[in-house]
């Protein structure tokens, strides 16, 4: 930060809420100590059709039940333009696991029993829940998540592929996946009638209290001032808590049905598989045209994905291919099939995560075909300028990540031939893949800083979903104010505080931190270095936080050692190493946790994660944590993340870029590439379960 003393930033401060979390004293949305009624939703069991009748009699007669909400008796919402929020507004069923009723009762046991007793008669229409290649319902979306264009083209890729001496044409598939934060989505809600048309208080598990307030106010026809949303601690989200979902609306409807009484709603783990988003499955055809020296002439990346008939979500899986490697001829396309499935949504690095699995696997395949080191291949295709926009890079150090990472990992001397190393019962291999993530600074956050008795209180309605935002915003403020961090208090997670954008897109610290710096400067400008009691200043994220004219991305390189059991095909990953270029690291302790956490989720994606839809019955088959496997302790051995030193002052006033998502991007490809090196078996269809490796040649 120019002109700002640097003391707190770069220091590995412990999380300010660390002891609260270790003791379990940190309060999550459900854990408000208020006497409450409990809400238990009832879900549809057909994937497409309508509710013919709901018999609520037995439920209402059940002990402790206070109300049963159905589409026939629930309040009409003011705005149902977002179909995800149009809950209990009509009989239509758009997917299996949609909320069709909800029971309000005195205890959780009674609410659950009441929900069991609600008898919903459903009419089932024919459904389609499985994305297959060339699905007849494919269409081109008007825009993608966070990107305006579904398709892009430069040059003449078809002709270039025709001419290329070497052409690789492969199709990769990633399955439907679920975020599964450890804290189930939950809220504690109170509706109070009275002057001003009443007020709604919502303790929510969310990545953004202000966005939740806006959505709920709109849906319920309230002024934003009538709604307060509080979220002190959030038990993970990884995107799924980036927006309210149907259950928030149901909880609000339930609260409004029992004015003056708190209601609590916590989704069950099973319910989370249909109500809070997921990553779409993808079918990705990648074509690479190259010369024998590995220089790419053409890159074509065509993506097929699903979305829901209820609401469109278009994952931007090929956008990384637009800028990753140099090639004069390039094309990306995205096609969606609207199926009778739950609504897909953000899951950690939407787009980049599945897209880079395909692209980085394809690069590895091309390297094998050319008998070339995969690092050299990437280096040969390093673009001087952003190939999509022609803009200069703010800080592209991919090659340095690859080279320095290779050195630290011990890549040199690797025998590039697959199936060349055996230790006891295990085939051993190593793999590499690049990582990338765009830099975003979202407009719309504001920070207020108030001075009192030597302490500066920094207020912003931001969210800490485990990133350490509370801690790092304090460090930013301390340096921006040139005071010790002990003299800074940070208040977040409440719409009573100034507006803040969502904790998403790895943009939280960048967006909110830029506003913190602006507010600190305003305070110093207005009140000097010795402000009086109650001195305050407020400022928003500057519009020019990111220097215009530059292409701003983070980069990284993953290195993986994989072992595949020769008899059983079990895959073990003894070593993962990631070297990243993410601008200036503001708090190494917290940044390392996020980068390692992303890599672990990438490992989990590679080895385990796979949501299964039942084609006949239309439901999610493996809707719990015993069947939807995420990596457990035993799957995660040595995982290390490091970064290149340096600051990117074009990215934010702090010189930092985001660290929340880049760790997952490319990780699964590095694992699959290592497993191929170990065994000679190329898995293009995640996850890498043991059966995939039973097909290869046996000893």
């Amino acid at each position: 930060m120019s002109g700002v003393e640097q003391g707190a930033l770069g220091r590995p401060d412990e999380r300010v809420e660390g002891w609260d979390k270790v003791a379990g004293r940190a309060r999550y949305a459900y854990e408000q100590p208020v006497p409450a009624l409990y809400v238990h939703p009832v879900l549809s069991t057909v994937a497409r059709g309508r509710v013919l009748a709901v018999d609520t009699g037995p439920a209402r007669a059940s002990a402790g039940v206070e109300a049963v909400l159905t589409h026939e008796n629930a309040e009409r919402l003011a705005d149902t333009s977002d179909a995800e929020f149009a809950v209990l507004q009509g009989p239509h069923i758009g997917f299996c696991g949609q909320i069709v009723a909800a029971v309000v009762a005195r205890t959780p046991e009674e609410a659950r029993r009441g929900a069991d007793l609600v008898q919903v008669r459903e009419y089932a229409e024919e459904h389609d829940v499985v994305l297959g290649p060339g699905h007849p319902r494919l269409y081109c979306p008007d825009e993608l998540n966070a990107y305006p264009e579904a398709d892009t083209r430069q040059g003449d890729p078809a002709a270039a592929l025709e001419r290329a001496p070497v052409v690789l044409d492969r199709t990769y598939r990633t399955p439907m996946e679920h975020n599964n934060p450890m804290e189930p989505h939950a809220c504690t809600v109170l509706w109070e009638e009275g002057t001003g048309g009443g007020s709604l208080t919502v303790y929510d598990s969310t990545q953004g209290v202000h966005p939740v307030r806006e959505s709920l106010a709109q849906v319920l026809g309230l002024h934003a001032e009538q709604v307060r949303v509080v979220s002190e601690h959030v038990g993970g989200g990884f995107g799924s808590k980036g927006s309210p979902h149907a259950h928030n609306v149901v909880a609000a409807l339930a609260a409004r049905a029992v004015p003056g009484r708190w209601v609590k709603l916590a989704l069950t783990r099973q319910q989370m598989f249909t109500l809070v988003g997921h990553r779409t499955p993808t079918i990705q055809r990648v074509r690479l045209g190259a010369a024998r020296d590995g220089v790419l002439s053409a890159v074509v990346h065509d993506v097929e994905e699903h979305t829901s008939t209820v609401k469109e979500f278009a994952e931007q899986s090929a956008v990384c291919t637009r800028m990753m490697y140099a090639a004069p001829h390039r094309r990306t396309t995205h096609r969606l099939a609207a199926l009778d499935v739950p609504i897909p949504f953000w899951m950690r690095a939407p787009g980049e995560t599945p897209g880079m699995f395909a692209l980085e696997s394809a690069l590895d395949e091309l390297a094998c075909e050319l008998a070339m080191d995969p690092i050299v291949l990437r280096e040969r295709n390093e673009p001087d300028l952003d190939p999509e926009t022609g803009a200069p890079w703010s800080d592209r150090r991919l090659v340095q990540c690859l080279h320095e990472g290779a050195r630290r990992f011990g890549w040199a001397g690797r025998d590039g031939r697959a199936r060349s190393r055996r230790e006891g019962e295990w085939w051993v291999g190593t793999g590499v893949a690049s990582a990338v993530y765009p830099h975003f600074v979202n407009p719309g956050s504001e920070v207020e800083i108030v001075h009192g008795q030597g302490v500066y209180t920094v207020s912003i309605g931001a969210a800490d979903i485990g990133t350490g935002a509370r801690t790092v915003l304090g460090q930013i403020a301390a340096d921006a104010l040139s005071v010790p961090a002990e003299r800074v208090r940070v208040r977040i997670g409440d719409t009573a505080l100034p507006p803040a954008t969502v904790a998403g897109g790895s943009a939280g610290t960048s967006s909110w931190g830029s506003a913190v710096v602006a507010a600190a400067r305003a305070l110093r400008e207005e009140h000097g270095s010795e402000p009086g009691e109650g001195a305050r200043a407020r400022a928003g994220t500057p519009e020019d936080a990111v220097a215009p004219g530059y292409s701003v991305y983070s980069f990284g390189a993953h290195f993986v050692e994989a072992r595949v059991h020769a008899d059983t095909g079990e895959v073990r990953v003894p070593r993962m190493y990631g070297l990243f270029s993410v601008g200036r690291v503001l708090n190494p302790r917290l940044a390392r946790s996020q980068l390692v956490g992303g890599m672990v989720m990438g490992l989990s994606m590679a080895l385990h994660e796979h949501t299964v839809m039942d084609a006949r019955l239309g439901h999610v088959v493996n809707h719990d944590l015993a069947q939807y496997h995420v990596a457990a302790h035993a799957d995660v051995q040595q995982v290390e993340a490091e970064w290149l030193e340096g600051a990117d002052v074009r990215a934010t006033p702090m010189g930092s870029r985001g660290v929340g998502e880049i760790g997952i991007v490319g990780a699964a490809a590095a694992v699959a590439n290592a497993a191929h090196h170990a065994t000679g078996v190329r898995v293009r269809n995640l996850p890498l379960t043991p059966d995939r490796f039973l097909v290869g040649p046996r000893e």
Binding site: K21, A23, G24, P184, G235, R589, M601, H633
Partner: protein
């Protein structure tokens, strides 16, 4: 159907009225405001609800409260805030940043304390080549023993480091 039970939670005697259907987890959270144990899955598939009962780690979501009448229950709050100061493992979790969102953390800490006792007692695990082998607090042993506690933030390497530090 209701029943009255006594629980000793972190050294405090509590008399609670519960439904026979109430789990130990819900008795702690919904009926006595002890929110330290977390509900992550409610089916024994994640470990977030782990508490120590009589010093042994169990999943409170799969124990009926009525069946725990008279039991001594220790939560992560009790471990962090004991009379003799915090448990060394609680401190190690903070120092190693062995968590992010913090939701699985109380269960990880309770499970870790259970693991320390099991290692001390020489109980075998799946990580050993042979069940008869002597037990050592290797990383592989700790990982295997902690595998019933999922962490979606991926703090596993730091959690293992914290347990290892206290085990040695």
């Amino acid at each position: 159907m209701e029943a009255t039970i006594i629980l000793h939670v972190d050294g405090v005697r509590r008399e609670l009225t519960v439904d026979t259907r109430t789990t130990l987890l819900d008795a702690l959270r919904d009926r006595s405001g002890e929110y330290s144990p977390k509900k992550g899955c409610d089916h024994g598939q994640c470990g977030a609800c782990t508490v120590l009962v009589g010093g042994r780690r169990i999943l409170s979501c799969l124990a009926l409260a009525v069946a725990c009448d008279g039991d001594e229950v220790t939560t992560a709050a009790g471990l962090a805030g004991g009379e003799d100061g915090p448990h060394p493992l609680s401190r190690a979790f903070v120092e190693h940043d062995a968590f992010q969102c913090g939701y699985c953390t109380p269960g990880q800490v309770c499970s870790g304390v259970g693991v320390l006792a099991e290692l001390e007692a020489g109980m075998p695990s799946h990580a050993a080549a042979h069940p008869g082998d002597p037990v050592e607090a290797t990383d592989a042993e700790i990982r295997e023993r902690m595998s019933g506690n999922l962490c979606r933030c991926g703090a596993y390497p730091a959690i293992v480091a914290a347990v290892r530090e206290v085990a040695r």
